[in-house]
């Protein structure tokens, strides 16, 4: 028992000593400029259910008709996306606050193939270009690690078209603008000049996780 008390006392007494010799953290070295490229597997527009733009997809008998049900049975559908990409420039005003200007892209193809011979019959595709401004708030600043949250707003411009593979006939839709928002509750960057980062967010740019690399100077 006595030995236990001695250990606790010695720990308490040693605390001020160890605090006294604690090494000073070097000051945060704020770099004003950042360029970054990021990618996310689950694009936001796709996650929120765009249907490759039904107007551009043209006439479709649909599932609610007899012809549509037979047509659907003759074909199978495959949807591909490009993932979501953002190229951005960030200006760090202070340790805590930054503004970014980014250009995002996501695209997708909805392809119909013949079940008889796997030949491609029809394609509908849609591409989104998204300029966006993002405010970033850094709440942990170390020279090697930064953690932050951010919110962005912008405009997505959609380009959609659909065509038959055999003869190329189809239709294109004139570009459409949509509001685009992205919220990132948590992001972490690791590195000094060259850094990698990972973000968790939800919005029309991506949903889920996003990985990227960047360079700050």
């Amino acid at each position: 028992m006595n030995r236990f008390v001695v250990i606790i006392l010695s720990l308490l007494l040693s605390f001020p000593l160890s605090a006294g010799v604690k090494r000073e953290r070097p000051p945060f070295d704020l770099r004003k400029h950042e360029f970054a490229l990021s990618g996310a597997v689950f694009p936001g527009r796709y996650a929120f259910g765009y249907d490759f733009d039904s107007d551009a997809a043209g006439h479709d008998a649909g599932y609610g008709s007899v012809a549509g049900l037979y047509d659907d049975a003759r074909t199978y559908n495959k949807e591909r996306v490009t993932d979501s990409w953002v190229l951005s420039y960030t200006y760090n005003f202070t340790d805590a606050f930054s503004l970014s200007a980014g250009l995002g892209y996501e695209g997708g193809w909805s392809e119909y193939y013949s079940r008889a011979d796997d030949s491609k019959i029809r394609v509908a595709e849609c591409h989104y270009i998204t300029p966006m401004v993002t405010a970033r708030f850094s709440w942990l600043n170390r020279n090697l690690v930064r953690m932050y949250s951010s919110a962005g707003a912008g405009v997505s411009v959609a380009f959609a078209k659909a065509y038959n593979v055999a003869d190329g006939t189809g239709n294109a839709k004139s570009p459409q603008a949509h509001l685009s928002l992205q919220l990132t509750p948590v992001g972490i960057s690791v590195g000094r000049d060259l850094f990698g980062f990972f973000e968790i967010g939800v919005g029309t740019v991506y949903v889920g996780g996003c990985l990227g690399i960047g360079y700050r100077f």
Binding site: G62, S65, V66, G68, Y70, D72, K78, V81
Partner: protein
């Protein structure tokens, strides 16, 4: 540094390869089953609901001066879905499964608008019902989604027998549906050969959607051509060989 470059290259390659987010390549397709189900639910099942409404409303006319007996009759058919406030001399309605039935100027003839009509497509079908006596009912309909009948139309002629008081059975059934959608013009004719379709009559609000027995024949023509039989046993539909 080399590790970072390597990781970046792998990550970029993964992302650049793109992702297949959806594919129904491995799904089994059975358009006959899909078509038979869609056609049955939309255009055949309402005939049995209409027969149930008519069977009640026609019997109600003989006892309508006795409110207590009338309500007991209604509750016996429609159970919790029977609302006495919806029971009038001229009309009766029971939702969400049956619809509304009204008297016409001719005794023994009614007009019925089944619940859900126009819900799945734009055909607002109004069925004419004629009581043939002995709890047998002639049901007919000629409707389309527009006056020119260019897009969808429905023509029905059926006789349904409820005399067993347990089942409603088709004595005859002819349903013709036409669609002209996305440049595909298709006509579907449904008939019930042999002993017809047999559906348990609603009782205390219990409804059977599918027949307990019978065969529904499909003849499809136009831009789609097919012919097949859908068989029903204990409420389970299947395509017969």
């Amino acid at each position: 540094m080399r590790k970072i470059i390597y990781a970046t290259a792998v990550f970029s390659a993964l992302l650049l390869s793109g992702c297949v987010m959806y594919s129904d390549k491995d799904e089994e397709e059975n358009p006959q089953l899909d078509v038979s189900d869609m056609m049955y639910v939309r255009y055949v099942a309402p005939l049995f609901r209409t027969a149930e409404l008519a069977d009640f409303f026609d019997r109600y006319q003989t006892v309508r001066d006795d409110r207590e007996q009338s309500e007991a009759l209604g509750a016996g058919c429609f159970g919790e879905y029977f609302i006495s406030g919806n029971l009038h001399y001229e009309e009766f309605s029971a939702y969400p499964m049956w619809g509304k039935i009204s008297l016409t100027d001719t005794p023994g003839e009614y007009v019925c608008i089944p619940a859900g009509t126009g819900l799945w497509d734009d055909i607002d079908a109004e069925y004419s019902v004629k009581a043939l006596g002995g709890r047998r009912y002639s049901i007919s309909c000629d409707a389309s989604d527009d006056t020119d009948k260019e897009w969808k139309s429905l023509s029905v002629d059926a006789v349904i027998d409820c005399s067993s008081a347990v089942f409603s059975m088709t004595e005859s059934l002819y349903v013709e549906y036409e669609e002209d959608i996305a440049e595909d013009k298709v006509t579907v004719v449904m008939t019930s050969p042999g002993s017809g379709l047999s559906v348990p009559l609603c009782s205390n609000g219990q409804v059977s959607l599918y027949p307990s027995d019978g065969v529904l024949h499909f003849e499809i023509s136009g831009d789609v051509v097919d012919s097949f039989d859908a068989g029903y046993r204990d409420g389970n539909p299947e395509i017969l060989d």
